[in-house]
């Protein structure tokens, strides 16, 4: 089916829904690289006008990636909740934007609607939203998940403590963990990207994190970000594993390039559930995504990268994750060129994830060959903080010495908590006070001295 729009005497024809969506997408380098972007700004707005007129049910019948050959499309369509959808099924994309901005869209009504929305619907509406719309609408959404603490409550901002080390040295990792905990970070997860993927190395790290969390009674969970098959193997070997990690994408072919499919994710999910290691809940999956991953695997079906990113969240929500993280600026300038594109993409991803009911966090980050810097990250952090982002990364001094990129620091997390009045997950917050890391009182204040158990641990070091 083709879509028409006449603007200023010029008649634009968009041959398919996926062409229309790609051309309606705010400009970014990855869509130019893929050759699917609008030719100029006027064509882009014409596409946005045409997209605004598309009735939402069209997204259930015209698929951007074929149903027959793609299991992610089948998941989206087969799991669609028509009853939940009925509240907005009479609307166009433009009408849906108005509805989302209106008082009809509340925390309760949005939660009820989520199973009735498809990734393509939320991607489409995001394309005709300005930054303030993305912020306002996602701030209304609430997605709460639980393992050893409660993530995503109103007025809370959690952090992943990311103590990476270039050679996985346990003492070097422990040093970064202490740094993070003393700055009140680590309630979303203590999560290591291992330098080596071998089962022996991964198991060593899993055991170490388990012992640290147990020894210091920290109400949080651990994760070693390795391939799902390695986590399953670690579980088979009785490693004390909390969260099963996997990078996921929005097409079957892209997932296949990651060495996964939905059946394998189900296996990982079942293995994690079998352990029952959560104390207040059992959301036990941690997923990472990022715009451009399908294109980089040449698995994008000529669909724009933002729509494909939203489809990854449909994969995520199937497995009731504790955390989903869009690693927004990691992939490089050929997909998101500069601070402006990274900021917009981070807000879109959070918006789409939250509307679909996913506990969305963001690795607010950039590489040194992107046209971005700390000021851009401060802007995105502040905007996401206002939007109600579930969690961000925390790393010593913003510098990941293993993955060679910059993300938010422990200090950055405290900045966001301070200026926006946000607190860590309640169980973790109580621990921070009890351990003497945060001083009691209404304002966020760090104690000047090390808590006793950590003093003892450091006592014999020179």
């Amino acid at each position: 089916m083709s879509y028409l729009q006449t603007v200023g005497g010029h008649r634009y024809v968009f041959e398919t829904l996926k062409v229309l969506m790609a051309k309606a997408t705010p400009a970014r380098s990855g869509d130019y690289l893929a050759g699917v972007a609008a030719g100029d700004d006027e064509e882009r707005v014409a596409a946005q006008m045409a997209l605004a007129d598309v009735p939402l049910p069209v997204f259930l019948s015209e698929h951007v990636v074929p149903y027959e050959t793609d299991e992610v499309t089948r998941l989206i369509i087969d799991d669609h909740d028509a009853k939940a959808f009925s509240v907005v099924s009479h609307l166009t994309v433009g009408g849906f934007r108005d509805w989302l901005l209106s008082d009809a869209a509340t925390e309760t009504s949005l939660a009820a609607l989520a199973p009735g929305l498809t990734p393509e619907m939320v991607a489409a509406v995001s394309k005709i939203c300005r930054v303030q719309d993305l912020v306002l609408i996602s701030q209304k959404c609430r997605v709460v998940t639980k393992f050893r603490n409660t993530i995503g409550l109103k007025g809370r901002l959690s952090t992943r403590l990311q103590p990476n080390h270039p050679t996985d040295d346990p003492t070097g990792i422990a040093a970064s963990i202490v740094d993070g905990l003393m700055y009140g970070n680590g309630d979303a997860v203590i999560g290591i990207n291992p330098a080596t993927d071998s089962i022996a190395a991964v198991t060593t790290l899993i055991e170490m994190l388990h012992e640290v969390i147990t020894r210091y009674n920290i109400p949080t969970q651990s994760c070693v970000l390795t391939h799902v098959t390695t986590s399953i193997e670690a579980i088979n070997r009785r490693a004390p594993l909390d969260l099963v990690f996997q990078s996921i994408a929005g097409t079957q072919a892209a997932n296949s390039s990651f060495g996964i499919n939905l059946a394998l994710l189900k296996e990982g999910y079942d293995a994690a559930q079998s352990l029952q290691r959560g104390t207040v809940g059992n959301n036990a999956m941690y997923f990472e995504t990022g715009q451009g991953s399908a294109l980089s695997a040449n698995a994008h079906h000529d669909v724009d990268q933002q729509t494909l990113e939203a489809r990854a969240y449909a994969v995520a929500r199937k497995f009731r994750p504790l955390l989903v993280n869009t690693v927004v600026g990691f992939i490089g300038p050929e997909y998101l060129y500069d601070g402006k594109q990274i900021i917009r993409a981070g807000l879109e991803d959070h918006f789409c994830g939250k509307l679909l009911g996913v506990p969305m966090g963001c690795d607010i980050c950039y590489t040194n060959h992107a046209e971005a810097d700390q000021n851009d990250m401060d802007t995105l952090l502040t905007l996401l903080g206002v939007s109600g982002i579930t969690f961000i990364m925390g790393i010593p001094g913003s510098d990941d010495i293993m993955l060679n990129y910059q993300t938010t620091s422990f200090h950055d997390a405290l900045y966001a908590r301070k200026v926006l009045g946000l607190k860590p997950a309640p169980e973790f917050e109580a621990w921070l006070h009890q351990a003497g890391i945060f001083e009691d009182g209404a304002d966020l204040k760090l104690a000047d001295t090390l808590p006793k158990p950590f003093q003892r641990a450091l006592a014999h070091l020179h």
Partner: protein, 270 residues
């Protein structure tokens, strides 16, 4: 009487942990924010890394240095005309421009094909190449001398991605290509060089056909260490007729450079 003035910048009582990691830990705090000194140190590190990406490689100086050592050289350009195009269009950095392709086609070929061509590309850090390329070849080329390698003239490519070496190797009819290229600069490592080896190079190959040696620089993997590893990879690739993932496992079984620092202080006996 008055209390002694409290210092504004709070130092962290765990600063002795800095000996265990190059990570930026125990930076102290002003309120809960980053104090001025580490803030500006970060800005400088980022500025250096940005310069490494955007600094145009001094090809004339590099060529002169290589010729002084007795190497024949050839300077080419990828299809990415400038740095912004290079950064946004990796596909163009993987191909030669028309003039370069014609120059290679016209270049005289030896009666017996070259065993290997070394391609030097700026990649994402020209600092890495200016710092390390000639110095590495000073160690590597003599190491090859003993085992009869017929080496092609050195090929320098501007705005290069790794895969451009495949086209160079194919057009020269070389049996192997070794690409020396500037790696994506980290905040603490703006001058890191990568080395990629491919047997039977031809345009269109992907990463699975290559073997990689990473982090070659003065503070990282030494030239001797890298040359030792590369010689092993080249010799084995030539002997067994394969490169890439099929060769990878055994190469990784080489003596590891990993260090461990003994018992983890967080989990010691109380």
């Amino acid at each position: 009487m008055s209390d002694a003035p409290k210092t504004i910048v709070v130092t962290n009582p765990w600063s002795k942990l800095r000996q265990y990691t190059p990570a930026r830990i125990a930076l102290g705090r002003s309120g809960t924010s980053l104090p001025t000194t580490p803030h500006l140190e970060f800005q400088l590190a980022h500025a250096r890394a940005r310069n490494a990406v955007h600094h145009e490689i001094n090809v004339e100086a590099l060529e002169a240095a290589l010729q002084k050592r007795g190497h024949a050289t050839l300077v080419l350009h990828s299809a990415a005309g400038n740095r912004p195009v290079y950064l946004q269009r990796p596909d163009k950095g993987r191909k030669l421009d028309d003039a370069s392709r014609e120059a290679l086609v016209a270049a005289p070929k030896p009666a017996v094909p070259y065993d290997v061509v070394f391609v030097i590309g700026d990649g994402l850090s020209s600092f890495a190449i200016e710092e390390n390329a000639a110095a590495f070849l000073d160690v590597m080329v003599p190491a090859l001398g003993a085992s009869h390698w017929n080496i092609a003239p050195l090929v320098l490519v501007k705005e290069a991605r790794v895969a451009v070496g495949d086209e160079v190797g194919e057009l020269l009819g070389a049996k192997m290509v070794v690409v020396l290229i500037g790696e994506r600069p980290g905040l603490s490592s703006p001058d890191s060089m990568g080395i990629y080896m491919t047997l039977n190079p031809r345009a269109g190959l992907t990463d699975e056909s290559r073997n990689c040696i990473s982090n070659v620089r003065r503070e990282g993997l030494s030239y001797e260490g890298a040359a030792h590893k590369l010689l092993y990879l080249m010799t084995e690739a030539r002997r067994r007729g394969l490169s890439g993932v099929q060769l990878k496992d055994e190469a990784e079984a080489l003596p590891s450079t990993l260090t461990t620092s003994g018992e983890n202080f967080l989990l010691g006996n109380e």
